[in-house]
């Protein structure tokens, strides 16, 4: 079947300043062909100047992520026929949120520096490691990480650093200083490792501006990650670990704390109390002129005016039970 590919081309060597443009190639596509196969075929047979990254062609090296019909995907793991049947088009562009260097190749250095920012290697403190029994007593004993400990970081270990998540990330789209989902997934890989000795310090760092609390929960990362890493899930793990370890002195954590409190109190979100607690008194004062306008339309949240839900006692019971069971679990682990 003949399919037309529209590929975004760009070559900084072509004039100043070089403008990206679309070039169309028509290709005979057979069943089972991936987008990468198609690109290779075009480069082999029609246009040897076409540039794109590739290596393993089996979705494990992370080289070949591009934007296919508007969404970041591994070109090797996307089959042409079903994609074409669904989208009715074959538009191939470089990843979004990245600067193109040539054709489909983008500058990955910002991606790597984000990863480097989270100090992506285990830093066990020997004392803690020894107390936990992580330093093997005998050669063949292995470090003591239970299957359950492993499960906690299992997903984050699957990352192939392809950049699909960062390409789709809405927070990164607007705030280019944001640390991004890939680095945060890596951060959980370390914070969540029972052998790690600097979890708290890591969490404090991650709670700084443009850090983990800046995720807007758009779920793009989890949706488009080709390896089911679910970066958002890892971000949630980081956040709740921070809540537990008491790393609370930042708007993000305060927001969550206020919410937990509000639900416990009235069973619902109490927007006014939350604004106040998250922003602090002075900053929420700053919102007053704006608040007045909202007020005119009856949109100013009124603290405690709306009623509690029925059976609020049940909600409080649930809080207590969850806490109690967690404590039990922790103790069982220690013992």
């Amino acid at each position: 079947m003949k399919i037309k590919f529209k590929i975004k081309r760009y070559n900084p060597a072509e004039g100043e300043p070089a403008e990206p443009y679309f070039q169309a190639y028509t290709l005979d596509v057979e069943e089972g062909m991936s987008v990468l196969d198609a690109l290779l075929k075009i480069a082999d047979e029609q246009d040897t100047t076409l540039s794109f990254r590739r290596s393993c062609r089996s979705s494990i090296c992370g080289s070949c992520a591009v934007n296919i019909n508007g969404f970041a995907r591994l070109s090797c793991a996307t089959q042409v026929m079903p994609e074409y049947a669904k989208m009715g088009d074959m538009v191939i562009e470089p990843l979004s949120n990245h600067v193109p260097l040539k054709d489909l190749i983008v500058d990955f250095n910002p991606f790597w520096s984000r990863i480097e920012k989270v100090a992506p290697y285990l830093t066990p403190t020997s004392r803690r490691a020894r107390r936990r029994g992580d330093v093997p007593a005998r050669e063949n004993d292995g470090a003591r990480v239970t299957a359950r400990d492993e499960e906690a970081i299992d997903k984050s270990q699957r990352c192939i650093m392809c950049g699909c998540c960062n390409s789709e990330c809405n927070a990164l789209e607007i705030d280019d200083r944001y640390i991004g989902p890939a680095a945060l997934a890596k951060a959980w890989r370390l914070v969540g490792d029972v052998r790690e000795g600097n979890s708290r310090k890591r969490l404090e760092r991650l709670s700084e501006e443009h850090g983990m609390w800046n995720c807007v929960r758009c779920v793009h990362c989890t949706q488009y990650c080709p390896k089911s890493v679910s970066p958002l899930k890892q971000i949630e793990s980081l956040r709740s670990r921070a809540m537990k370890e008491g790393v609370l002195d930042n708007p993000g954590a305060k927001h969550v704390e206020a919410m937990a409190d509000s639900v416990k109190r009235v069973g619902r979100l109490d927007e006014a109390a939350m604004t106040f607690r998250t922003l602090g008194f002075l900053r929420s004062l700053g919102m007053i002129p704006f608040g007045l306008k909202m007020e005119r339309h009856g949109k100013m949240p009124k603290p405690l005016l709306f009623p509690q839900i029925e059976n609020i006692a049940e909600v409080r019971d649930i809080y207590e039970e969850a806490e109690r069971l967690e404590k039990e679990d922790r103790e069982r682990k220690k013992g």
Partner: protein, 541 residues
């Protein structure tokens, strides 16, 4: 990378130069695991015996002894660095059985062992502040008076040539699977290091031994792990017969890789294939078992062959998988050029001999990578930096300008295509004198034509086409070494199977093939095998 970490730990100034970003290296694709005798009920001697036997007695036993003895310490070290090997229920490192091993001694990280370890190495590079020159393609090893001076590399991003002046260079460029048409290897596995070494005057050893994996996906050659047969998958021909019953009546599909590959090839050649493939049928295992034990295989089959193994058999065929041969080194990775080392799949120490056991090559990369790094560090601490010849950069620039200047020639991709088909046809699973000699002649003809290859991209930015030309040059050298070694070796041993000499011949051929380049001609010589503990015996399973 393991070597770099070792050297950096010694306080040296180390850089990794790689044509892909380090986590993209092909080690990332290794699924199965890494071998080590870590249980009380196992021993390094057992591991050694299995490896020697697996190598069809061509492996050097001093090297194998080191490999097996040091394996447990390296596994523990990897775990301490941060790897989490999969656990057994009691919390110890779990091990699975692998082909050719008398004990389940393969440690693994789920079905992503290579990925886990490669990313771990990358983490450690950052931790040790090793400098990374990524997407730099090494174009030349600079050697003078038998002492290495450094390298010349092209920065792909801007096309600039750089000189890296150093006291020691370690080659760890991986395998050459791409020389063959059907291969499990990455597009970047083009044997560059071997080509570079040959041109620098080094010797390559045992190049004719190429492992063919019996189950690689139709069209793409992507590996379907041995586990698929281990779980009970059937191999069927076009008549729907479980043909392995005719080749290995007792173990059937579970026979060793070379045996199964040859059986498949026979079926296909005799007209009982399905579009050049045979079928791997998992359907009788049922959805639960497939989803639980072979999820990755199902994913690969769906994504890369458009076939769901729950409802359809998977088309597979044998494909080039692993390069037993490589740059000849001693047990510290040292070559005969001072300061130049090699490790990993590009090196030949030799621990794999005529046939590699699954799970031994990651181990080789770790153990001998570490040793090469340590040896290189010792040398660096002991000597002053040798001078870097001015001419080197000029010469490289000249070579590249030459390629860029050519017009109206064939494209590299057309030539490469031809080469891979020649290799598959003439140097594949079944070899004989006639095919091999014709194949060697064709490769030499291709080398002539290579001199006139031209390109249409003359730019500096990410010139993939130029890269393809450089890689092709190395691949042709490698192909020639394979073919030349295979023509000469008149016996069948391990992965090298000659229909005209179907038996192993220890009297004549218990020796390593060594090739080197002299005035752009290949010269073959031979070297004795180190035999310390285990005398050659017939290899039966």
């Amino acid at each position: 990378m393991r070597a770099a970490i070792e050297a950096a730990a010694e306080g040296l100034n180390v850089a990794v130069v790689s044509k892909v970003y380090p986590v993209r290296s092909h080690s990332v694709a290794a699924q199965g695991g890494i071998n080590a005798a870590i249980k009380d009920t196992d021993s390094w001697e057992n591991h050694m015996f299995d490896t020697v036997k697996g190598s069809d007695y061509l492996g050097d036993q001093d090297a194998i002894e080191i490999l097996c003895k040091e394996a447990p310490r390296d596994i523990m070290e990897l775990e301490r660095m941060g790897a989490v090997f999969s656990r057994d229920p009691s919390g110890n490192i779990a091990q699975r059985p692998f082909g050719g091993a008398g004990y389940p001694r393969t440690c693994y990280l789920a079905d992503r062992t290579g990925h886990g370890l490669l990313h771990l190495m990358y983490e450690q590079l950052l931790k040790h502040e090793v400098f990374i020159y990524d997407e730099w393609h090494v174009a030349r090893l600079v050697v003078e008076d038998n002492v290495v001076r450094g390298i010349i590399a092209i920065e792909l991003r801007g096309g600039k040539l750089h000189r890296l002046h150093s006291k020691a260079v370690i080659i760890a460029t991986g395998g050459y699977g791409r020389v063959f048409h059907t291969t499990t290897n990455a597009l970047s596995s083009t044997g560059d290091g071997m080509g570079l070494a040959l041109n620098a005057g080094l010797e390559l050893m045992d190049m004719e031994f190429v492992q063919f994996h019996p189950t690689t996906l139709k069209r793409t050659g992507i590996l379907i792990t041995e586990g698929a047969r281990g779980e009970g998958g059937y191999l069927l021909n076009s008549l729907g017969e479980r043909f392995m019953a005719n080749y290995a009546p007792t173990v059937k599909e579970l026979a060793s890789r070379d045996v199964v590959s040859r059986a498949e090839k026979t079926e296909i050649d005799q007209g009982r294939g399905v579009n050049g493939c045979v079928l791997l049928d998992l359907r009788h295992l049922g959805a639960d078992r497939i989803n639980e034990r072979l999820p990755q295989i199902r994913e690969l089959a769906i994504n890369f062959a458009g076939v769901d193994p729950l409802t359809e058999p998977i088309p597979i065929r044998p494909g080039a998988h692993y390069s037993m041969g490589g740059i000849m080194t001693d047990v510290d990775g040292a070559t005969k050029i001072k300061g130049l080392y090699a490790a990993g799949e590009s090196a030949c120490v030799s621990v794999h001999g005529a046939n590699r056991l699954g799970g031994n090559s990651l181990l080789e990369a770790v153990v001998f990578g570490r040793r090469a790094g340590a040896a290189a560090a010792r040398r660096c601490l002991a000597c002053a930096a040798p001078e870097f010849p001015d001419s080197a950069l000029r010469d490289s620039a000249h070579d590249i300008a030459d390629i860029l200047r050519r017009d109206n020639g064939e494209t590299a991709s057309a030539l490469r295509q031809e080469m891979t088909l020649v290799m598959e046809e003439h140097c594949g699973v079944f070899r004989d004198s006639e095919k091999l000699i014709a194949g060697l002649a064709k490769i030499r003809e291709l080398k002539q034509r290579y001199g006139k290859v031209s390109l249409s991209d003359k730019g500096d930015y990410f010139n993939s086409e130029l890269l393809a030309v450089l890689e092709l040059g190395h691949m042709l050298d490698v192909a020639e070494s394979i073919a030349a070694g295979a023509v000469a070796r008149k016996e069948s041993r391990g992965a090298h199977y000659r229909t005209d000499f179907p038996r192993r011949d220890d009297r004549e051929w218990l020796k390593h093939t060594v090739v080197r380049k002299e005035d752009s001609e290949l010269k073959i010589s031979y070297k004795d095998v180190n035999i310390s503990r285990y005398e050659p015996k017939e290899r039966t399973y």
